[in-house]
Symmetry: C2
Subunit: 272 residues, 2 copies
């Protein structure tokens, strides 16, 4: 016979299993079977876990009632905690060390370091749980890890638009758009990638003029998909007027002139 | 005064905090401070957590002794559990539905669905903990999510090589390589991305002839970085002879001839 499982063991295992599948409802029945416990016992465990998550700022555990009910974990980040994370990042990115010729900022390392990327994904996801996107859309390449982390936190797939249609993606929809440099570019997405009437959240690393974002919106229109939000890691202060509205970014970038230009990276207003 | 924290609460919170930063040593002192507990209490908690992780197949929790010691979580996947996951995937990918003209297989959705991708990343990471890579290297685009998940499980950064050097990446190293289609292509990586004498693990979605992988090895040579392993989601049965050796893949792909071609996707031999 199986050794009796103690409450502290059950709760620890549940915390791991719940947080490994964010924003996904797991049934009480599944946990009852796994631990050989009664539903009433599981409900007590879940109540305690909810308290733990709240007390230590580890996200939200919720019971969802109804036929498809169960328990769900969301890595919700408080505004205060998000602000602290983003302020630290801004501090690291500001100054002259990361500035490249032409006023570009080097931050590819930040965009692919798992700890930072997962955190940014959770901060962005927190803002879009209520809009219930069906998938996250990004345009290759640099924004893919953050878009993936956001999709992970939202419990939805990631969809990646590409510069050109590849033979191994099958039949594709292509659109043309005007890039930041004024060139006409192509954006491509496999027909199989999304379904009609779904809701998309656009996530990308950088917003300057908004040409690429505009392209993604048009691409979604071709699929009869509505865009419920647009989120970026960084947006430039200039140009002030973007070709899209309603975008949310984590940080803003301004490059000062003069002999030794510096990057001024600040938390976006909605975070302050 | 703070309400006393019970063992079940401490353990649940620790499980979440440990598993959120895989393969990263966290000090006992940090946990003592967070919970207001003595070191002896924390050690007992950790012993219990180690048992929970083992009993429910949730990975490994280890105590690391020495000056930089503490406790560490690794999402180690047992061979049996890995086999089950990959067999299910093979079942889903086999047949004619996902075959595209030219014998290509559509599996972009599999490569960017968080649940599956994280699991593949954990299975691959399990094989490379002992080699202690400093970073994961991938070549844009489709392999980025799996490479990111592997880097996450290993607790190291991801580095993304690109087809052409972009102005916002700064000074870069470019190499030329012969792609699968026989074309000469360029692979580029920012000088800032890696340091001399580091160890790289290459992770990518697809291995056919091995031209791109060869290119990544040459790129690393330019940086004086050694490649400690190469891991792929899928490798083709044909050509049998690849341009690289020592690669590990999760699945193999063979396309049958005849009037209605079918994809035969099988778990790689090392998993069986």
């Amino acid at each position: 016979m199986m050794e009796k499982i103690r409450r502290n063991e059950r709760m620890s295992a549940m915390m791991k299993l719940l947080s490994a599948s964010p924003n996904t409802i797991q049934t009480l029945g599944m946990f009852c079977e796994l631990f050989g416990s009664a539903k009433s016992t599981m409900s007590e465990d879940i109540d305690l876990l909810r308290g733990v998550a709240e007390r230590f700022g580890l996200g939200e555990i919720e019971t969802v009632t109804g036929a498809a009910g169960g328990v769900r974990y969301r890595p919700v980040v408080s505004r205060e905690s998000a602000r602290r994370t983003i302020r630290d990042l801004c501090h690291e990115l500001s100054g002259s060390e990361r500035l490249l010729p032409g006023g570009f900022l080097y931050y590819s390392d930040i965009l692919s370091t798992p700890g930072i990327v997962n955190r940014m994904g959770e901060i962005l996801a927190t803002e879009y749980y209520s809009a219930m996107p069906d998938f996250v859309l990004t345009m290759e390449t640099k924004g893919i890890p953050v878009a993936f982390a956001t999709a992970n936190a939202l419990g939805v797939p990631l969809v990646i638009a590409r510069h050109s249609s590849k033979v191994y993606e099958g039949s594709a929809v292509n659109i043309n758009y005007v890039s930041g440099s004024g060139n006409i570019e192509t954006m491509s997405l496999s027909r199989r990638a999304v379904k009609e009437n779904q809701k998309a959240l656009i996530v990308d690393d950088f917003l300057k003029g908004g040409g690429t974002a505009r392209g993604m919106i048009e691409l979604m229109r071709e699929f009869n998909v509505s865009v419920i939000g647009m989120a970026f890691v960084m947006s430039t202060v200039i140009p002030e007027k973007k070709r899209i509205t309603g975008a949310r970014s984590l940080m803003t970038l301004e490059v000062t002139g003069g002999e030794t230009p510096e990057a001024l990276v600040k938390p976006a207003e909605w975070l302050e």
